[in-house]
């Protein structure tokens, strides 16, 4: 049994302007110790997808269909009390800790200990002792648990955030852009730390980012999202070497290759479609250089183009063959 199976997940937002299909029929799964990278432009639904797993959606957002099976338990069907018990104990989230994910008027150690006390009903001293060990695990001096967030640098806050995420030995850690706003050196350290910990502790890791380049070294699998749908999913090598979706191809060409001549990356012309007025057909066709008449009328279904490698494109085989 897989650790996590997401099947036909549909998360919509009911806004005053209409229904916003932030996540529309998304499928993926995750094994123990495996890392999945979720990549896409801003607003494509990656964060909503992750928040759906812990049912942490804002009140306008609702799961309209699908299943989220965590070790076989459907998270969608659980009551509010049941889901609260699962949070942090089964699924924890590393937010952009460098920004504002830690409470500024509470000691960092207390913020970690309170989660342990909530889920394991142990005494504060014991919880704090465990917090010290967690700090050592993320390579921070144990006595820093008595500091406030403002006394930490951006990288240290992010390490503390990871220590917090590990507090209740979760089965899955979701990193929601955990390295955005950190400088490149610290970014690499944080990613290495996450990489090391998920292998040692055999946890599932979902890494959300808009930066495809950092996923290559950190993840086993990559899912590329566009306008609420996963357009391509596969193992890292498949995504980079045997790309089967024009959008993925354009994303990859968006980061410069330092071994070649200096050229400014092309970027992708156009803007993502208005999610409140979805057009018929493939959502990417207005920006796609391979679009045909079929793409304008018919939504492409996800087809298997290789072993565990899926692409939702009418011309996937042509893209795969280098067009």
């Amino acid at each position: 049994m897989a650790l996590l199976e997401v099947k036909h997940l549909k998360t919509y937002f009911d806004t005053l302007k209409g229904q916003y299909k932030a996540v529309d029929d998304v499928n993926f799964d995750l094994e123990y110790g495996e890392a999945l990278g979720l990549v896409g432009e801003s607003g494509c639904g990656k964060t909503t997808c992750a928040l759906s797993i812990a049912r942490l959606l804002p009140k306008e957002g609702k799961i309209y269909g699908g299943k989220i099976l965590l070790e076989g338990t459907d998270m969608v069907q659980l009551s509010d009390d049941q889901i609260r018990e699962k949070r942090w104990k089964d699924v924890s989230i590393v937010f952009q800790g460098a920004m504002n994910a830690l409470n500024p008027v509470m000691k960092v150690g207390d913020q970690i200990a309170e989660a342990i006390m909530l889920h394991e009903k142990i005494k504060k001293e014991d919880a704090l002792r465990r917090t010290e060990r967690l700090f050592e695990l993320v390579e921070m001096p144990a006595d820093r648990i008595r500091n406030y967030p403002h006394e930490f640098s951006g990288g240290m806050k992010q390490r503390a955030m990871i220590a917090m995420a590990l507090a209740c030995n979760p089965k899955i850690i979701i990193g929601d852009e955990p390295t955005t706003a950190l400088d490149v050196m610290v970014q690499a350290q944080i990613l290495n730390l996450l990489e090391k910990l998920r292998r040692e502790l055999n946890m599932g890791l979902i890494l959300i980012t808009h930066d495809l380049s950092i996923l290559g070294e950190t993840c086993d699998k990559i899912a590329v999202m566009y306008a609420g749908k996963i357009v391509e999913i596969g193992m890292v090598e498949d995504i980079f070497e045997r790309t089967a979706h024009p959008y993925t191809k354009r994303l990859i060409s968006c980061f410069p290759n330092i071994s070649k001549d200096k050229v400014i990356p092309a970027g992708i012309e156009g803007i993502p479609q208005n999610m409140l007025e979805p057009q018929p057909g493939c959502s990417f066709y207005p920006r796609c250089h391979l679009a045909t008449d079929l793409c304008k009328t018919e939504v492409p279904t996800s087809i298997e183009v290789g072993k565990k490698h899926f692409s939702a494109c009418h011309r996937a085989s042509e893209v795969l063959n280098g067009r």
Binding site: E85, N100, N103, P104, V105, M106, E114, H119
Partner: protein, 322 residues
């Protein structure tokens, strides 16, 4: 907070008070109106009489001599003699402090408590009917002019319903058989002024509390707390409120000074024998020494409240400590 930091804050507070003393002196002398004209309403007063009075109050001296005399006396604890009351300013002011403290203190406490509760409920139940209702209430009470509200109160509760007396602190000429009876009379007189004053303040506190709390509730650390599996109530009391209280402390402190002065309207309308009404009377009569005395007191209140707020801040916000 370091002892040094506190000492520094106190020093700055002292400097501020000194500057205010100078302003205080100049302000009332550049105001239009002449104290002598107010005192000598008698058209038959001879020039000798006017000269005599001028000399008695030191008003015949050149301005710089008056200024230094003012400063010198101030440090000796002599705030001068009131033109109107013909008594030392300190004595006149002292007699009025207690009624104002009673009125303002009670109104402030009620307003803070009610305002915070309304603000928290509105923010927590944002967008519901409760939120819209309390928001309307707060906006109306916040924008209503104090004097108008006071008059409406009198019209409804005194003239219409005969529930409360219209003015004063005690029923004039009444002798009380016991302390209980006296307190009962005091409470009856206090209800309307306190209600008027706190209504005006509640709106401001509730609006501020609501807005800050809504901001705080959208912060990432609130999502973190929810993600950890805590209940909404715990997230609100343990994570959101301590952060949302910080701006409230500042507003309460700033208000503290203003409401002493702001009591002018309420005290005048309800003939409450406090500092506010005294200030109104002193101003009408251009009673320089008395005005200076009251202004100095108000200034010191504002400054002390701010120093206290600074110190409180350091205890509840770890970021301020260093």
């Amino acid at each position: 907070m370091h002892k040094g930091t506190i000492a520094k804050k106190l020093f700055y507070a002292f400097v501020t008070i000194m500057i205010v003393l100078v302003f205080n002196y100049i302000l009332f002398r550049v105001l239009p109106g002449d104290p002598l004209a107010m005192m000598m309403r008698n058209p038959k007063a001879t020039p000798e009489m006017i000269e005599g009075i001028k000399h008695f109050y030191g008003l015949d001296q050149p301005w710089h001599i008056q200024f230094f005399t003012y400063f010198k006396n101030m440090f000796a604890g002599d705030f001068g003699t009131s033109f109107v009351f013909k008594a030392p300013v300190i004595q006149v002011v002292a007699g009025r402090i207690l009624p104002t403290v009673l009125l303002v203190g009670l109104a402030e406490i009620i307003a803070i408590l009610v305002g915070i509760v309304i603000g928290v409920l509105a923010a927590w139940k944002r967008g519901t009917r409760l939120d819209v209702g309390t928001l309307g209430f707060s906006l109306i009470t916040y924008s209503v002019p104090t004097f108008w509200l006071g008059m409406i109160m009198i019209v409804i509760f005194c003239v219409g319903l005969h529930l409360f007396p219209t003015s004063g602190m005690f029923t004039p000429g009444k002798s009380f058989i016991s302390t209980g009876a006296m307190l009962h009379d005091l409470v009856k007189h206090m209800v309307l002024p306190v209600l008027t004053m706190s209504l005006v303040l509640i709106g401001e506190y509730a609006l501020t509390m609501r807005n800050t709390l809504i901001d705080v509730l959208s912060e990432d650390y609130i999502t973190t707390a929810r993600a950890k599996g805590f209940r909404e109530r715990y997230v609100l009391t343990k994570h959101a409120l301590p952060n949302a209280m910080l701006p409230m402390i500042t507003i309460i402190a700033i208000n503290f000074g203003f409401i002493v002065a702001g009591a002018i309207q309420v005290e005048t309308i309800f003939s409450w024998p406090g500092l506010g009404r005294l200030m109104y009377e002193a101003l009408s009569a251009r009673d320089y020494p008395l005005l200076q005395g009251i202004f100095l007191l108000v200034t010191v209140c504002v400054i002390v409240a701010n120093v206290l707020a600074d110190i409180t801040y350091a205890y509840i916000d770890p970021r301020v400590k260093n």
